[in-house]
């Protein structure tokens, strides 16, 4: 019998314990499928953050390390520089990457550290119960912005791909959404390209995934993906923000034209 679909070997047999409608399960599977398709599961280390995805090390079928809140890129740097043959990914949420760990994020990008960051942007602190995140959009209610985020009190949400795109060292930056199959297929392509960026030694890569958190948004899973479409994508447009391959090609063409 022809097998048309099977569970990726990049995931373990441990059942995931995420909330219904959570984006982590989809994101984990995309990472796992890419690891398997590129044949790097046995030489990948997943740096696992503080937050709901702290359990990721149980679900992905590669080596793992769980470190301090926000320090994933620094930990990944230490591993990559010690054992450069390792494929190192740092999986981080928005509080982890864009708030407490902002310095590590920016500096690892500016060093063009040869690592891959998978950035889950659900605009909220999930594990601690729904507090305001650096990426919470204006007007969004959280437990620490109960009347909705207001710029004059809480400042503005931080668009990470746009912010990092000005750095020379940021080799590959892309943002996708986990709201519908077409976007999820696109997300996987981005993740694969980010892995390839690292495997080819081209430097820092990050894929941002707009991800639903129905529980802390106080919504049904269906309404949560609707929010991604109606509220998040307009503030966080999807697409590729930096691509070393396209930039190299453009440079070559420019030279040829001269």
């Amino acid at each position: 019998m022809k097998i048309v679909f099977e569970k990726t070997n990049g995931l373990t047999e441990v059942p995931m314990r995420y909330c219904p409608g959570c984006g982590h399960g989809v994101a984990h599977r995309l990472v796992a499928e890419v690891m398997e398709e590129l044949g790097v599961t046995k030489r990948t280390v997943a740096v696992v953050p503080v937050g709901c995805s702290v359990f990721m090390d149980e679900y992905v079928n590669c080596d793992g390390i769980q470190g301090a809140h926000g320090r994933g890129p620094a930990i990944a740097t230490g591993i990559k520089r010690s054992k450069p043959e390792t494929v190192v990914i740092s999986y981080q949420g928005d509080g982890d990457l864009a708030s407490i760990g902002m310095a590590e994020t920016i500096h690892s990008a500016s060093r063009s550290e040869n690592i891959t960051i998978i950035f889950i942007n659900n605009a909220i602190y999930g594990m601690t119960g729904g507090q305001m995140a650096p990426t919470t959009i204006l007007g969004m209610r959280t437990t620490t912005s109960p009347a909705g985020r207001r710029a004059e009190i809480n400042g503005f949400p931080i668009p990470m791909c746009e912010l990092l795109s000005s750095l020379e060292g940021a080799s590959y930056l892309a943002r996708a959404a986990l709201d519908k199959p077409a976007h999820i297929i696109r997300a996987k392509k981005y993740i694969k390209k980010a892995f390839e960026t690292q495997i080819k030694g081209k430097g820092f890569s990050m894929v941002e995934l707009l991800s639903p958190c129905p529980t802390d948004w106080g919504m049904t899973p269906k309404d949560a993906v609707e929010r991604i479409r109606q509220e998040m994508i307009p503030r966080y447009p999807l697409g590729v923000f930096r691509d070393w391959e396209a930039e190299e090609k453009a440079k070559k063409e420019e030279k040829a034209a001269v």
Binding site: G64, I65, Q66, I75, G78, I79, S82, A103
Partner: protein, 354 residues
């Protein structure tokens, strides 16, 4: 090997770590330890190792956490405020059973303090330092030669017991120059077998591994902590080190560690020249603390004088060892104050009524 080289303390510390197999260093500038990262920046690449200047002390210790997880010998160094910033990461290393080595070239505090030598980070060093139940193997050199030779012992203990290890120095030891003699042959870390807990690299011949400090299953973290406590018990039984002089017949015992013990040694010499029976006990390891040496001496001496460059931190371990059996006197100079042998000797004479 017996050749003596004139070296600055911080450079001796760095060279000692490289010879002991260090192949990864992450650090951040802070006085008075800057010679350590500066030295590592050119020296480590010669050995195929890696130096990185981190964006902060917080990043540096987390780079160490990552590098240590691959099973290699790693190092960071800093001075007091920077070591405070590193405490969370050190706690994670302790919690994940990662062997790391770091040095605190102590300066005056609290806060920004000053850049003068001090011994005011004793509590932080010997009580763990960060959050959670753990200790750090702490060595206190008192010469540039010991700055060069102690990193090897720190690595050996860190890897044997899977605990953090450190050197507690100060601005005097970091900045002064003395002849250095290495008491060991350079170690080739590529000859070490890869530890069975190391992650990364080619994992095709083994099960996947995870390095972490958390365990949410009921009771498991308690068991893990108790298992770690057993390792610390073994360290206390097997790794204590101290030296002394004039201990056989002394009536008054001076006790100091680190650079302060050099000054106290001069005071002992002055007392002996005047025929006063004064001795010196100098802990080499601060954790584990040489409790038994103090307990034995407490049976014989009449007075103990603790001299340290702080307002009284090391004295608490002496008190806990002696348990009130002998009167303990104190002379402390905090925040960059350095006692002289003369002022120590004056106190000695007062105590002895001479």
């Amino acid at each position: 090997m017996a050749e003596k080289t004139l070296m600055k303390g911080n450079e001796a510390l760095a060279e000692g770590a490289v010879r002991a197999g260090c192949r990864f260093f992450a650090g951040y500038p802070i006085t008075p330890q800057n010679e350590v990262p500066e030295y590592m920046s050119w020296r480590l690449p010669q050995e195929g190792g890696f130096f990185i200047q981190a964006e902060s002390e917080v990043a540096a210790i987390n780079m160490l956490f990552g590098a240590a997880s691959t099973g290699i010998r790693v190092m960071t160094s800093s001075s007091s405020p920077g070591i405070s910033l590193k405490q969370e990461g050190i706690s994670y290393c302790a919690g994940a059973d990662l062997p790391i080595f770091y040095a605190n070239v102590v300066r005056g505090g609290p806060g920004l303090g000053n850049i003068a030598p001090a011994q005011s980070d004793y509590f932080q060093a010997t009580r763990g330092g960060g959050h959670g139940d753990y200790r750090v193997f702490v060595m206190a050199p008192n010469s540039v030669s010991e700055m060069a030779n102690f990193p090897k012992r720190c690595y050996d203990v860190a890897f044997k017991y899977r605990v953090p290890s450190m050197i507690l120095a100060d601005g005097i030891l970091g900045q002064m120059m003395e002849p250095v003699e290495f008491d060991f042959e350079p170690v080739d870390p590529s000859s070490f077998p890869e530890p069975d807990w190391a992650i990364g690299g080619d994992a095709s011949g083994r099960e996947r591994r995870v390095v972490k400090s958390y365990d949410l299953r009921p009771g498991r973290l308690e068991e893990w902590n108790k298992e770690r406590a057993k390792r610390f018990e073994r360290i206390e039984a097997e790794e204590v080190d101290w030296d002394g002089e004039g201990l056989d017949d002394c009536e008054l015992l001076i006790t100091s560690y680190g650079s302060c013990s050099r000054i106290s040694k001069s005071a002992v010499k002055m007392a002996r020249e005047d025929g006063l029976p004064v001795g010196l006990l100098r802990p080499i390891t601060l954790y584990p603390f040489p409790k038994k040496a103090y307990q034995d001496l407490a049976k014989r001496v009449k007075n103990i004088l603790v001299v340290e460059m702080s307002l009284g931190q090391f004295i608490e371990d002496v008190q806990l060892s002696v348990l009130g059996k002998v009167p303990i006197h104190f002379h402390g100079r905090p925040a960059g104050g350095i006692p002289t042998a003369e002022e120590i000797y004056d106190i000695v004479r007062k105590i002895m009524g001479k």
